[in-house]
């Protein structure tokens, strides 16, 4: 078992909510502990969305600063992690929007051509039934950020929020300000592209052609 290390200045095993309570009371150490506890996952989400490491660092810091600013408004019915990630996604997406304003295209169905090009099941087969153990999975993980970098910004944001935080179509739609149907088709395209990229990296390129009906 791995436990996150807790600095000796705070009693062990304070919950997030207890730390939030203390931070609200003006205790900077409690807030610092929240930062340390969550920084890596926040950074992972930010990196997934903005893809640039330095930008991800800034986004993550800004997310924590905003969390601090709004601590008083935090309602405890949602978990601190959920709230923190929501803010992180907000900041990261704002950064993307600032960099690339207003590109919108709605896609309803997936074009037949995309399905024709696909080789469905190749990745799943290559990764096998016990995926945690395979070398291939490890290799693919190592090149994941590279592959993410190849996706259009909003496709990447959708995929990362879905995979890291399990956001629903509804939440993604609200968060990104695009219709639910668009979220769904973009998510499909993002996944398709990721699969193709990763399969390419791993040299497991399409042995057969997928067929669409």
């Amino acid at each position: 078992m791995n436990f996150p290390s807790v600095p000796p200045s705070l009693p062990m095993a304070l919950s997030d909510l207890e730390l939030v309570e203390r931070a609200r009371g003006g205790d900077p150490e409690a807030f610092r502990e929240l930062v340390v506890r969550h920084q890596r996952r926040v950074y992972a989400v930010a990196l997934g969305i903005v893809k640039d490491r330095d930008l991800a660092w800034d986004v993550s810091q800004e997310a924590f600063v905003r969390v601090h600013q709004h601590l008083a408004e935090f309602r405890e019915e949602s978990s601190f992690t959920t709230w923190l990630h929501r803010i992180t996604a907000r900041v990261a997406i704002d950064v993307l929007r600032k960099e690339r304003p207003g590109r919108r295209s709605d896609v309803a169905d997936v074009p037949e051509a995309v399905l024709q090009e696909a080789a469905p099941g190749v990745l799943a087969t290559a990764l096998g039934t016990n995926p945690q153990e395979t070398m291939l999975r490890h290799e693919l993980s190592a090149r994941l950020t590279e592959a993410l970098g190849e996706l259009p910004d909003l496709h990447r944001a959708i995929l990362v929020l879905r995979e890291m935080d399990g956001l629903s179509y509804e939440e993604l739609s609200l968060r990104l300000g695009i219709p639910k149907g668009t979220v769904m088709s973009r998510l499909f395209h993002a996944r398709k592209k990721m699969q193709a990229l990763l399969a390419g990296y791993a040299g497991i390129d399409a042995p057969g052609r997928g067929n669409a009906r």
Binding site: D27, P111, P120, T145, R213
Partner: protein, 160 residues
């Protein structure tokens, strides 16, 4: 339902599709091998995205990250907050990069005052307090206030 309509529905979370969509997708999957394979790909990819980002984040040195965040929060943000006496003492000590029992001049006095302070305010004990001992040449002043003795420790940055 055709593949083109089914594809965007693949990889939905449980309960996320409306019942009609879910039924149509289920019926399609039952008869469509390629879409079952697509679904398997989506499921296989899912762990890869998560693990890849986590691995990458694990490689990043975040040792100064929290310092950066704390530096971006103005000190005044901690001063306005409502707090009990213990919190206020702790906040004061923090703001001055402090040292309660640290003074080279009066360590015993400071420790005693701290002990009295905790004792009088009914604190849960020294483990509640985060006390850093980080430097020398500090002068400790113990004020007897209505909250009990409060130790003021200068850090030399305020013109002493």
């Amino acid at each position: 339902m055709r593949c083109a309509g089914a594809a965007p529905l693949l990889g939905s979370l449980p309960g996320e599709l409306d019942p009609t969509e879910a039924a149509l997708l289920g019926a399609h999957l039952a008869t469509c091998e390629p879409c079952r394979a697509r679904l398997a790909d989506i499921e296989a990819l899912s762990g890869v995205v998560r693990d890849g980002l986590r691995d990458e984040a694990a490689r990043r040195d975040l040792s100064i990250f929290a310092d950066g965040v704390m530096a971006r929060i103005p000190a005044s943000a901690w001063q306005g907050a409502p707090a009990g006496p213990l919190e206020r003492l702790r906040a004061f000590l923090r703001r001055h990069r402090v040292l309660a029992a640290a003074s080279a001049l009066a360590p015993a006095l400071a420790a005693l005052a701290l002990y009295l302070y905790i004792g009088r305010t009914g604190g849960t004990g020294p483990s509640e307090l985060s006390v850093e001992v980080t430097s020398e040449d500090l002068a400790a002043i113990v004020l007897d206030t209505s909250d009990g003795p409060v130790i003021l420790v200068g850090d030399g940055s305020e013109g002493t």
